[in-house]
Symmetry: C2
Subunit: 563 residues, 2 copies
């Protein structure tokens, strides 16, 4: 494919953000890694490495000196897959180097709790650097991969705390080829880029939030993928109530401000609605007794039912629980737009408004205080661009099948799942390549030292969901194989379904066992839900803090200060 | 004085911020209240109240209906004075209404600890609204006071979490008379302003941070007056280390990034230096072992000694302790400028730099990672403008002294201390007025129902320091008097000096008793220091959380994640 053709494929709705505006504004997208200049655009992955070296001295010499005889494993991303594998690798055998724009791992199942103050934000965070771990870390975006020379280019991203929110779009999308080239040259000159060699590469950059291009959602909705998202939601809920409490606010405005919508009826959307209902019922109703009758929570979903991963009976239990508590569930509803200002109101300045308008196909325009968006995953731009064209492959790649004539002329690309855009791996989580010859015959290969896992990868022949559970199990499996050196001799990875859980509010939960195990619901499920997350939380620090906060907030109520 | 003459007095270095930029940018100044349009400029305090009523319906009817037979006490500010008096007023007798741009009280002695992660931010915060308190609250800036009709005008300020940092300058300073008028009209139309009547008014708006107009300080230095400041400092320290850890950073840059300056050798500056030294020695030295030798802490002060409020012997102990731990104290040093970029470097874009240059008269230009500024207090713009001109006074004011001829023609103004700009009160904390007749005779009066306390007030005849201790004692005294209704019959307020404390790092502190009591230093003082703040912390919630965090961070180290 020609560079220009590739550029044309970039989603047109993605905004152009100049480098300088990126430095001041909160990045549009930041959870995973992103591509700055794809190989397809630059034509060569060495070109910029050279440019980078013209700037300040930039070496990884300290890292090299600590390496000793160990193999270096570079891990892109610090989510469920990356963080798990980094901690599990044997430090005597491997030098694990994590590259991520975030300096921590987010324990995502607790984010909904932190977004309403049931837990403090840091109880859902584990720093990558600690006193104890043997993991090296660079805060940056992976930028280019040179498979031939086993080298990645990294753009530093230390910024000040801006990398903690859900990714929703390619931050450099829409740039022309010339602009990309110039910006990248300038960054290289400033010493913002550096190269890092690897012996093994583990790609676990995760996904972005899917907005289906719905107008205004990227700009005005809240997401719930990272701690910064949770912080924004918490501040917004409390600001809505505080604004509603002002004498300058009319009752009509109060109704709009305290109207909360959740789009997406999966576990994240349902759990957030439940937690929101809890804080309103348990705390805000006492603090703002004259306001609470204005408040309303609605869950929208395009499908005909919520919680599709649960048995019909359990999903029905959730629907009934929500109905009893006054949370509306509107299935078969289509959200068409989210814009600032009340319905019918013309907003001149973007910042001068306190409510939003949600346009729903089935019910028209609704005034709304906050929309939390949780409708699924979009492929990470890093995967879509940086990985897709391979150019040169290392000598130790393994040819799998296909005609053997003229292998040198084959143009390799990463094998991508057409439906989801995910990278395809073999059952040993190794990156698959594919090449089409002129006679329409297809050749496949694998790269022995490049592994892809987490939400950005699909394992050939399996239909595993894109969940934390699958990512963490793959990571543990891979670390074990690498530590033992038996990846060739044992069987491939197989997911063990440990079941699904969802909190329903008011000390109720759903719990569905893996495989053919049954499900339970109600208070007992809630106790197991809390116990499971307490057990699974990573550090002793958080194993202590989480029950302390549960107890303190139960006794004294949630903290409603904003800062 | 003519309006134009008054305008000319506004500090010229204060920046003009348009309303729209205020909505998006972090406010320059936000701890206390500020004036939007001073009475002197508008000429009348009723004019805008009228304009405000043209907009949306804005009533305090809910507040009025809850009032019953009680007197309404409006309290401006939620710091040591305002928060203390609001909680101590008898809710059976008074309807306490707090007006503050912050939704919480900041427990300032613990801010230094939170700024390095020894404690979590919320342990230094108490929300004004809780499940238990009987205090009403409006989040807004007091704008105008109409003493005659006992009414204040409030500008709503719910924004999203931007009000949590130290005030350094009048956010609307430099506006022309015409612009102020127009902006205020527009705000009134949008329903951003509302009036609130009072029976008693307590002004406790606090002070701003004094920068002495030193170029670049307001823009680039960190302050330590509020929780948002502590959060910025924590993120900045960790970002400096993370940037220094990148291979793109040279050793020279590492030295600059990890060079930390504290300007001001009072308790805040000393305690912050000590806490910073603790996190570097106890945590960052283990997490970044190869970087810690680059780090350096320097305390600058223009005076010839630090901690002037302590005995010579105790101050000397502090100097020796710091010297032993490698913290430089540079007395008799004058900071002249702080600007982005390394020494000698030209910075084109404001955002594209990672180090700063500190210009010190005695040592030239120094590359620096962060400057924490703590050199004292500047008068709150609210006091300087909104209170200074009185126009009309209520009928129940009390004439104190002066010629009795023609009292109606006297033009009253608030009595201001010329040196500090603070408001002067009588010993019962009531606002003093003064008027000069044409024959140069001076008449004084007091307003019976207006009290001023905290850092913005000075009590006539006393030389009390501007500390939390004095503010809180005044607040308790006043609440007691109002509850008992005996303000006329008991003696005036007298401060009881409870002594001063300062943390010196490494489990050492200074402690000096009040009056002629002696001082102690070292480990025992540290135990008392911790015990005192634990006892003084307000809520049970924080009395539990504070020791939990002390224990957890001692066991597992401080959390170094940024978000």
């Amino acid at each position: 494919m020609q560079p220009s053709a590739r550029l044309a494929q970039l989603p047109s709705e993605l905004r152009l953000l100049s480098r300088s505006s990126m430095r001041t504004a909160r990045p549009l997208s930041s959870t995973g890694h992103q591509l700055l200049v794809s190989q397809a655009v630059t034509g060569s992955c060495h070109r910029y490495g050279g440019a980078a070296q013209q700037g300040r001295a930039m070496t990884t010499s300290q890292l090299d000196s600590k390496r000793d005889e160990r193999e270096r494993v570079v891990i892109l991303g610090s989510g469920w897959a990356g963080y798990t594998v980094a901690r599990a690798l044997d430090p005597k055998k491997y030098q694990a180097v994590v590259v991520s724009p975030r300096s921590y791992f987010a324990f995502t199942p607790l984010l909904a709790s932190t977004s309403v103050g049931t837990l403090e934000f840091r109880t859902a965070m584990e720093p990558i650097r600690t006193r104890r771990t043997n993991v090296d870390f660079f805060q940056g975006w992976a930028d280019e991969v040179d498979f031939k020379n086993k080298k990645i280019t990294i753009e530093e991203a230390v910024e000040e705390g801006g990398q903690s929110t859900a990714g929703v779009g390619d931050r450099n999308a829409g740039e022309s080829k010339k602009h990309r080239f110039e910006r990248r040259e300038a960054e290289a000159q400033k010493g913002k880029l550096f190269d890092l060699t690897y012996d093994k590469l583990i790609v676990s950059v995760g996904c972005y939030s899917q907005t289906f291009g719905t107008p205004g959602v990227k700009e005005h909705a809240m997401f719930l993928k990272d701690v910064g998202d949770a912080r924004k939601i918490r501040n917004r809920i409390l600001a809505c109530f505080e604004t509603a409490a002002l004498p300058t606010t009319t009752d009509e405005q109060r109704k709009q401000l305290l109207n909360f919508a959740v789009v997406g009826g999966g576990p994240t959307g349902i759990e957030f609605s439940a937690e929101l209902h809890d804080i309103i019922r348990e705390d805000l109703a006492r603090i703002y007794p004259e306001l609470v009758h204005f408040s309303k929570i609605t869950v929208y979903d395009v499908a005909s039912k919520v919680l599709p991963m649960f048995d019909e009976k359990l999903a029905q239990y959730a629907m009934n629980t929500f109905a009893r508590e006054g949370i509306s569930i509107k299935t078969n509803h289509h959200v068409e737009e989210l814009r600032p200002g009340a319905p019918g109101e013309k907003v001149s300045s973007k910042d001068d408004h306190s409510v939003y308008t949600l346009k729903v196909k089935e019910e028209g325009e609704v005034g709304i205080g906050m929309v939390v968006w949780s409708t699924g995953l979009m492929q990470n731009p890093f995967v879509a661009h940086a990985l897709s064209d391979v150019h040169e492959i290392p000598n130790d790649f393994r040819r799998l099948e296909g005609p053997s004539n003229d292998p040198g002329n084959l143009r390799w690309r990463v094998k991508i799942d057409e439906k989801t855009g995910s990278v395809i791996t073999d059952t040993r989580l190794r990156l698959k390549l594919v090449a089409d010859a002129k006679d329409d015959t297809r050749t496949e290969a694998i790269l022995n030292d490049v592994f892809v896992l987490g939400d950005c990868a699909i394992m050939e022949g399996a239909q595993y969901p894109a969940t934390a559970q699958v990512a963490a199990q793959k990571a543990s499996w891979l670390a074990k194989r690498l530590n033992k050196g038996d990846i060739e001799t044992v069987g491939g990875f197989a997911w063990k379904n440990m079941g699904v859980m969802a909190y329903l509010g008011n000390w109720n939960a759903l719990l569905q066992g893996g495989g053919n195990a049954g499900g339970i619901s109600g208070r007992l499920a809630w106790i197991i839900w809390r116990g499971a997350y307490l057990t699974k939380s990573v550090s002793w620090r958080n194993k202590i803090l989480i029950p302390v906060y549960w107890a303190i907030n139960w006794l004294f109520g949630r903290d409603v200060s904003r800062f």
